[in-house]
């Protein structure tokens, strides 16, 4: 009985008894949620524009972070390092479009998916050849302290990261919704053939979308890199993006944002208020269980398009 109370009513009582502590946990959760959103967004962009699940998105995050930190270690100023790395990501987008996607127009999606697995291995290898496999510390001079508001402690670096990610996410969402190129991107995502007929060239769109995904990967790489150090395990934060995508819907930019926030918030709150009674480390699996529940009850995600086929 006591256990039952601890995992049902107990946590809510605690939340109401210590509202400030709850708020602190919640804000921490939302902050990491925004960073999940950012990674998920990279997947969504490419999925929207080509219907392909880009397996290499996680590696792109690492790849970008490694080049960025590599340039900085060589004594390049932060701004210049950012521009140089973005240049590398543009070249990568161009290469992917020219050498891979262009050859695979009109192939089944599984073929394109396999191609992105190939890209992932290639990038991982290339990054290691160029920069080596060691952990590198990334410090771009974001203040590292904490703010004390009342009894709450708010991490400054996380707040900055969340802010930047938030701005980027909103800007991209607006770009998709309100501009000609955004519309063309959505059109290509929806139907290649129809897009070609109205005069949208696939090559250009694919280059743009991989470039934007490269930019997102770079920003995500910098943020996660300065939080955890730039190391090959960064690839695995992409795994956290999967539940976010299932929650938000693979083709929805707002979905990626909300999905990230829900997962970030949910797993922190669950860890603190429930996890302590359940032996801890629930943060590890919470997201996946939530995603599983979504797959059962709402497979298209919160914002995904529900496709009803005419029979």
């Amino acid at each position: 009985m006591e256990f039952l109370y601890k995992v049902t009513i107990g946590p809510f009582v605690e939340m109401f008894t210590y509202p400030q502590f709850f708020l602190e946990v919640a804000i921490g959760g939302l902050q990491s949620g925004v960073m999940y959103s950012l990674v998920a967004l990279g997947f969504v962009l490419i999925y929207k524009a080509s219907g392909v699940f880009n397996y290499s998105q996680g590696v792109m995050v690492l790849f970008a972070a490694l080049f960025f930190v590599g340039f900085i270690d060589k004594g390049v100023p932060v701004i210049l390092a950012f521009i140089l790395t973005m240049g590398v990501m543009l070249l990568l987008a161009l290469g992917v479009e020219r050498l891979v996607l262009r050859k695979l127009v009109n192939q089944p999606e599984i073929t394109l998916f396999m191609a992105t697995i190939g890209i992932a291995f290639f990038l991982e290898g290339l990054a290691e050849v160029v920069w080596g496999g060691d952990l590198r510390i990334l410090d771009i001079g974001v203040p590292d302290g904490q703010w004390e508001i009342g009894e709450m402690l708010i991490q400054q670096a996380d707040t900055w990261a969340a802010l930047i990610a938030g701005v980027l996410v909103i800007a991209l969402a607006a770009f998709f919704q309100y501009t000609k190129t955004g519309r063309a991107l959505r059109a290509v995502a929806d139907d290649h053939q129809a897009a070609l007929t109205v005069g949208i060239g696939l090559e250009r769109i694919w280059f743009i979308v991989w470039s934007v995904a490269g930019l997102v990967a770079l920003v995500a790489g910098i943020m996660w890199g300065s939080k955890l150090g730039v190391q090959f395990s960064l690839i695995f934060i992409a795994l956290k993006a999967l539940p976010v995508l299932i929650l938000g819907g693979f083709d929805s930019v707002p979905g990626a944002i909300i999905g990230g926030l829900i997962i970030g918030f949910g797993e922190k709150v669950f860890e603190i208020f429930w996890g302590t009674h359940m032996g801890g480390a629930v943060e590890e699996w919470f997201a996946y269980v939530l995603a599983l529940a979504f797959l059962v009850f709402r497979p298209q995600g919160l914002f995904g398009e529900k496709i009803i086929e005419r029979v």
Partner: protein
Amino acid sequence: MKERKFGEPLLTVENISLSFGGVKALQDISFDILKHEVRAIIGPNGAGKSSMLNVINGFYHPQEGSITYKGQKRSAMKPHEAARQGIARTFQNIALFRGMSTLDNIMTGRVNKMKSGLLAQALYVGPALKEEMRNREFVEHVIDFLEIQAIRKTPVGRLPYGLQKRVELGRALAAEPELLLLDEPMAGMNVEEKEDMCRFVLDVNDEFGTTIALIEHDMGVVMDISDRVVVLDYGKKLADGKPEAVRQDPVVVKAYLGEAH
């Protein structure tokens, strides 16, 4: 019916042959489409009508023959180039952007009329914003013309079939095409919807002066609205001429009704 005047040939196809492996989809097809004309391509199922349209708009590249469009002769072009050159089309089994609203779908038709750079769009400033508004105005005009104001914001995936066809026509019109290709615009429609569609086709031809090439297998509809008709069967051209003449051509009658045994 008043006398209709046509200009020079806008498009001429000469000796087009297209095959897929051993299947000969089109064999030695030649015809022309005059400016301002409503030209129909008819034939039974599997006659090669859609293949012909796909050749004109660049989805298929014929093994033999040439296409002369606006005085330029070539063996084939790419679909998005064709679109840039003023060829717009619709599909037999509707190819709309299902997740997007009617308005957005039709706006995509304007893609080649909008020139502002990526950066200007991204910043959503000055010329890019004005351009967006100007094109939006034209699209609203198309929406009024097709009488689909009520569904402007509806995702097209949710619309009934007849309306989807109309939206698809709208997207093609938004490009202000010189040549409009319609692949079975009346297929699967009820009588009332067919009448509406006929009226739109004729109005487009009249008001915008657009040259139209359309495919149908329903003879009745085609004969009423087209100026000249090409008849295909098994990838070969059977007849070409005015509807009245084609209707009475014994070869055509045979292809449609079969031979008496």
